[in-house]
Subunit: 220 residues, 2 copies
DNA sequence: TCAAAAGTGTTCAGGGTACACCCATGG
DNA sequence: CCATGGGTGTACCCTGAACACTTTTGA
């Protein structure tokens, strides 16, 4: 029973790659580090895994601290365990990614945390191995887009087909054909046409749709 | 600088899901646990991450302990961090999968470790959350098969097309059409036909092929 | 009246799938 | 001589990609 005691213990952290769509571009939420090492450098929002806390719970807690949001979709991206990845101490980190509807944000908490949205193509220098984490999360996201309904996480309940298309385009980083997109999306997902019109995006106005969930289950 | 000290430290482990092909079936290498908790239960080969050891290095070390092999292809599958996943203590585990050529094994080490190959369809009851780990590794493997040349990891340098096909069939769990398979595999990979014949599998004998690596790079 | 986004079908090519017979050899 | 696995090509279908014009309305 003393078997475990012979072994080393490690600090274990979680880092969150928080994605959101803004003005047709994929953004990541970054913070300015307030502590050493790496003070004033841009970094992912992170935290430590505490005594009686699962990895998933730690990730949710960290996300909540930054955004005030609960019940956000999060997926584990991978564990990062190089010995010197954190210059301050040996910390093993498990990365998570979260997908956020850009409009549901708590501006107070954002400024409290020195947080800022940054487009993925304009990523600044990041703290230590965070670039690799972002890279892996991006790969994961791009992969998921074709397989699972993650895109809807970026949107409110009601959305236009053009908004939906621009989510795909932002994530994949390429323009899509409008007619092919609509055909495919309508046969892949059960989208319900409402009789509401969104006039913010165009003069003519676009029909708002709602995703009907299959079999009353949650999405993703 | 005492910032880190306020936080908990955890035991961090690695668990290896070791795949191999045997008699046309996908097998996993399991061991009988020799220590409590879970003594005499089947489990994945695992170990702890030590003080100055990266996650990847720990996984390689554990694999080497069991098989005697170096330079085996390993990929991280994910981190498992439920609080009570290990009934003996709070251990966060990072799972890796490895692909092994079944014939390159060290029988001495295998018996020393009470290790045994088990077909994935006949998996016995496994220690704690190891079933979930195996499940995730299997999903990962099936996904990789269609995308990357992982299949060749299961085979020696020279192989017949029938052997290659049976690797695919074992991993995907379904029969494939011989002609379609050969057509696709020949246009996907650069396979060099040798003038050697393997007569172990049939009376007529089958041509042995070798994979020509693209641009002198390593595979996978 | 014009600029700007919404909305709507058809055609074509390429890839994937289905399918059956002869060959070589050891027992 | 026959059972066993090795080796080979074609026809069809369906999915994915290319492509252009009309509608609505606010400025």
């Amino acid at each position: 029973m003393n078997y475990y005691k012979e072994h080393a213990r490690h600090y274990v952290g979680v880092d969150c790659v928080i994605f959101g769509l803004h003005e047709g571009r994929l953004n990541i939420l970054l913070i300015k580090r307030r502590m050493m090492p790496g003070r004033d450098q841009w970094s992912l929002m992170g935290g430590f895994v505490e005594e009686a806390e699962s990895l998933d719970a730690a990730a949710k807690r960290v996300l909540h601290q930054l955004t005030g949001l609960e019940d956000v979709y999060m997926e584990q991206v991978g564990a990062f365990g190089a010995i010197d990845r954190d210059p301050g101490a040996r910390v093993i980190s498990v990365a998570y990614c979260a997908l956020l509807n850009f409009n549901e944000q708590d501006h107070q908490r954002m400024t409290d945390n020195d947080a800022q949205w940054v487009p993925v193509e304009e990523m600044p220098q990041l703290f230590f191995d965070h670039p690799a984490i972002v890279e892996k999360a991006l790969g994961y996201l791009r992969q998921q887009v074709g397989r699972t309904p993650v895109v809807f996480r970026f949107l409110p309940e009601l959305f236009t087909l053009s908004q939906l298309q621009s989510v795909y385009e932002a994530i994949l980083g390429e323009k899509l054909d409008k007619r092919n997109f609509r055909k495919r999306i309508m046969e892949t997902y059960d989208l319900e046409k409402t009789d509401l019109i969104d006039k913010t995006g165009s003069k003519r106005g676009a029909t708002l749709y709602r995703r009907r969930l299959p079999g009353g289950q949650s999405s993703c």
